[in-house]
Symmetry: C2
Subunit: 193 residues, 2 copies
């Protein structure tokens, strides 16, 4: 009985998130609202508010539900190749609908709404940073990473240039761009001695 | 006569930009409007629209008018020290009102409004990138920078980690953070041979 109720709850959560993405893609983030999602999903808006406090939180969970596992790091034993594969997957996601434009709008919203910013960090950025640090720590232990490299900076240094291109210059993120960034970061700016 | 008219025009432009910053600081970006600036400055709104097509363009010019020269690179002959000094100045600006919160809101707006994004890039990012590349080119010619370092990536690599902290984690930008990032970028992630 409880199992069945839990499963029904999970199905409903899933259905609401799918509706959020579909509707978000159709009408855009700024016109998306919890009321509109409720109407389209055929549920009461309190059903949604019970699970998510805001439109931003609902959208974030919806985006992540589809793709979280895609952003895991492989571990083939070659850290440069594994970073490359993971970042290629990340930009493929950022470069196409529904994830790309809705994620961009969400980050825009995070500049005004501290709750959205906090949710973005807790639900997405911090877990990604943990995965990144874990993968790099293994690499450092295997001598594939400078022992001086400050792992606390890993997320900012590796993803900063991607966010710069995604949010500021707003030029397309390409695999070639990622490869050039990674080469530059591994090599460093200092001339060889 | 024309000189006098030009000077009056420049004074008016200046007064409107000062009013924009003061009002923006008081009421925040989302409540700022060209109408509100016009009322406070005691000019007609068409006087403002003649110079700036949108609130974003007006705010951007207003922010830059105060600080553009602050973001020039020194050239003491030591590129690491000069980058450090320039980036410290940049984050001091980003970390305090009125520039910080208004610039953050403007970048937020750039996620929805392609005109704001274009103005941000043309008026601020591209000129800063040019200055950065020029300073690094001198350094490379003097053997202070890896000859392999791709100058086209300089802006993304150097400022990406700052924007990541400013827009995503939204933790305070400190001089210490900048210094650690610069050290990591100069050293590179690869272990010494």
């Amino acid at each position: 009985m409880t199992d069945k109720r839990n499963r029904r709850g999970a199905d409903l959560t899933e259905a609401i998130m799918r509706t959020t993405l579909r509707l978000g893609e159709e009408i855009g983030y700024s016109r998306l609202s919890i009321e509109a999602v409720a109407a389209r999903a055929g549920v009461g808006k309190h059903t949604i508010y019970r699970r998510w406090p805001s439109k931003g939180a609902l959208l974030l969970d919806s985006l992540l539900s589809l793709h979280e596992a895609d952003l895991d790091y492989p571990d083939t034993g070659d850290v440069a190749a594994d970073l490359r594969a993971q970042i290629h997957a990340a930009i493929d996601l950022m470069g196409r609908p529904p994830f790309g434009p809705l994620f961009q709008a969400l980050v825009g919203e995070a500049q005004y709404d501290p709750h959205v910013a906090a949710a973005l960090n807790e639900r997405f950025i911090a877990p990604q940073a943990d995965k990144t640090v874990a993968r790099l720590k293994t690499a450092r232990d295997q001598g594939q990473l400078s022992p001086d490299f400050d792992l606390n900076l890993a997320m900012a240094i590796l993803s900063g240039p991607l966010y710069f291109q995604f949010l500021i210059t707003q030029e397309p993120l390409t695999h070639d761009y990622v490869d050039r960034i990674l080469t530059a970061l591994f090599t460093g700016m200092r001339p060889p001695p």
